[in-house]
Amino acid sequence: MNFEFSDEQKLLKDQASGFLKENCPLVSVRDIVDDDALSYDKTLWAKIGEMGWTSTTIPEEYGGLGCSYLELSVIAEELGRSLAPTPFSSSVYLATEAINVAGSDQQKNTWLPKLATGEIIGCVAVAEAKGQITPASLATESNGSTLSGTKIPVADGDVADFSIVFVRANIGDGASAYIVDLTQSNVERESIRTLDPSRSQAKITFTDANCELLGKEGEGWSLLQKINNTAAVLFAWEQVGGSEHCLEMAKAYALDRIAFGRPIASYQAIKHKLANVYVKNTIAKSNCYYGAWALSTNDKELPVAAASARISAIQAYYFASKENIQVHGGMGFTWEFDCQFFYRRSKQLAVNIGSELVWQDKLISAIELDRAS
């Protein structure tokens, strides 16, 4: 039994932690939030590219490090802990993954080396309106060489260079995926104000935009499920990193804040609240370990492992981030304090690739499938 990261992976985690403490303190998250004109931290993004994190799981033949998802997991945890305001998740967990999984050799050669260095940013465009998206609800269409429609919101769509766009298909699973250069003139982009201003969202209108099929026609929805499973594990690591940061903040504040002559950390209402945060974080983290293992070995349990990690991480982060504010009392809900950033991020991550509700259903479906066979 070796259910732990290797020493090298732990070293990588320590390096990531140190790097982000220096290059991404909470004050730099605040800078992005406070300035509407800033979509992400460009300096940080450039350095992340230099560190090679964007290339972690890209095969060496395409300029990547060819590392496993275990390495990417430890990076994700630290990115989540620091709330790094970058398009890392869109570009690395989703767009890179989509091309890596479904791209032709030529597509891989075109995009992966640049994604590896971080010189270009990718994103994924699925949503078109409020509520859950299904193939049947997609309005965006393509004739194979151009596509038209409006996607909203697209995480990091305002800063990405290209997007994987999911459009309606009348065959197969009902959807197809296309690679679209977002810098072309047939693409109109607009930044949108968001619940979590440290992560940008966009509205993108495609009008006969040039596009290139990724994978096969009518296999887009399956591709999306596949990359969402990967992203679910990595998002979960970010969420756990964030939850743990919340616990540290809440603990530090509760130990310092005196009420009625003693630290509020000495009251059971606070002690048990923090114990519950710890419990939820531990449950989530242990599920993340399993998710990382299943991802790294491409185990057939991945759908179950990914859903478990995501559900428990969503629950842990919501609880940790809201109770962190609560422990901070009046200060917690002031703009001046940092508690808000975690609370915002917890929801941004929770709705980005399908909410808790969607994944609970997915988990049971995966188990049903598993037990039926």
Partner: protein
Amino acid sequence: MDFNDTPKEAEFRIEVRTWLEANAPTESELRDMEPMASSKLWQKRKYDAGWACLRWPKEYGGRGASAIEQVIYSQEEAKIQTPDNVFMIGQGMCAPTMMAWATEEQKREYVPAIASGEKVWCQLFSEPAAGSDLAALTTKAERDGDDWIINGQKIWTSGAHYSDYGVIVLRTDPTVPKHKGLSYFFFDMKSEGVETRPIKQISGASNFNEVYFTNLRVPDTQRLGKVGQGWEVALTTLMNERASIGSGGGGGVNFNRLFKLAQDVNINDKPAIKNDVVREKLANWYVQESGLKFTGHRTLTALSRGELPGPENSIGKLVGAPKSQDMASFGLDLLEQSGAIWDDEYSDFRGLYQTSYMSSPAIRVAGGTDEIMANIIAERVLGLPQEVRVDKGIPFNEIPTSSSVK
């Protein structure tokens, strides 16, 4: 058991309604008016006709009415569109304290002007290191002849920036146990030495202020109660605060709105309202809301019979605040990716769920945290023992403080 007024109440309700219909300010009257001017216009009109602060004695600007008459009036006024009420703190908390503790001369001078809306009052109790533990406040008043010199900082003061007067609790002796060293004053908010700064909340709104005092001078004649009796006076104010918070909750999202959202968005290509989880959650929230509503009806019934409602009222806030937060969070989940948008142009439902998600943390704290509310129910309703107090009987300046308090 019925939902109807008694004959006497029904008669009173008609009187109220008739007056309101004839006298409520019209849109054209209020056009181009500043909000404060609108508020004052409406309050003055009510006052002149005897419809302000109904429960107060007539000599201080009230009507000498009963509690249930006050409720009926409020219900009826709530049915029509009227200007915002900026007088609530003055009328709900400051004036009752003045009536209980000020000299007869002061009452006649200040209280009617609160009823008429001529003067706006605010309440300055909380401090950065004295929230739930209010009596830990450190802003000090030092005697200087016939005056007191005040230095320090208050926080969470609603309406400080537009108030004419404030009531304040101050530390006049740090060497005695903490509840013993406090005194209570009222003072002119426009005085020199008072600086007000808005606090920006995470929702983007600024409903509260910080107020800084630098050598503010307040005459000793504006002290309420004896020196060292400030805590007792403050309890008068706070008792009235609890009564006026009522069943609270607020926060925008409620069953009706979430029900509509669930009809409006899809899960698996079917309206979300057809999803069993959505139904279950909505059902649980519905029974909480109806339970609170009918608890309110039971309270009104007690009022109607001339009985005093007890601290049971705290359940409104204790249930309502986390409910608002969870409902907002669930609403965002139903919106899926769109939940992350909070944009005037693009947010569905005008950003209701996003706004509520970001506002509800404040509701769980302001006016007493969830934890304090649970304590109140445990101690005052159920009669369970108070927390162990390690600061009892210890001189205030020997009690440990948070490192943030210099």
